[in-house]
Chain length 146, copies 2
Amino acid sequence: MRLSSMADYAVVTMSAAARHCGGHRVSAQQLADETGLPAPTVQKLVSKLSAAGLLKAVRGAHGGLKLARPAAAITLADIVEAVEGPIALTPCSDHGRHDCTLESACTVRPHWPAVDAALRGALAGIPLTQLSRPAATAALGAEVMA
Amino acid sequence: MRLSSMADYAVVTMSAAARHCGGHRVSAQQLADETGLPAPTVQKLVSKLSAAGLLKAVRGAHGGLKLARPAAAITLADIVEAVEGPIALTPCSDHGRHDCTLESACTVRPHWPAVDAALRGALAGIPLTQLSRPAATAALGAEVMA
DNA sequence: AGATAACCGGAACGATTCGGTCTGATTTGC
DNA sequence: GCAAATCAGACCGAATCGTTCCGGTTATCT
């Protein structure tokens, strides 16, 4: 139930990138300085994030990163899926492989897709713009918990 | 974003135990046979589950396991928390330790508790009774996604 | 009372994944 | 044409996770 460190770092990195939304590009090194993360780690992250279409990378001298979409159109679910792949709590959900020993008799497997969808929905409700702001701990989650 | 195998097995085990709700106790070995899981693994799981108050264990000859509560009062969140501890996507959430390098300047950390609560809410909405039934893939999650 | 059956806790081993570092390929600017 | 700065992929060590084994405790049956 724990997010991988890479996904955690990706959220921090994207949040830092969103703060530079004002046009001019940012280098991966600069993002590393701002976030305090190791530079090679940030480089690895931006590779995955740009491959997923969340960041736009321009190479060469004076290159750098830029958000591919407005920050409001990028959610936590997008970032997590970009780094960790499809959101699925169990291996049963994402591919047809049932290595389960009881295959057909398993009564819980049919319910995992619904759980995954609920989880993904909770993450998709949090845009990047919200993570860049400094405060407001509440107001979210209450609606889902009820 | 993947559930640990132990938590996955715990759900299967609890679901199998729920099918024996009719009074008489079940041995851990019998649960292992029904689920196809290794017997030592099931034993380790029932230890944690009974310590968490989800299963009631009676020792001695003709002993066995029994649900400590009605199946309707046990949710996915209970089982996951019993095996994996508190539901928290990041280490920032559950204890005061901030090993983050930027501590005070981190703008995303205040938002993690809300995300955790939303996630836990999604899992708490699924009772054990629902997992024992054979079908009905949909009907859940739609409300949370909206 | 002895023996059996079942649960309980800790410790050690092996495998897999994760996180971090390094080197190479590509593009732009002068 | 050269050089600087960037992204992109491959390698490696380390930590965690999952599994198995062992001895101990408790209550029932003979």
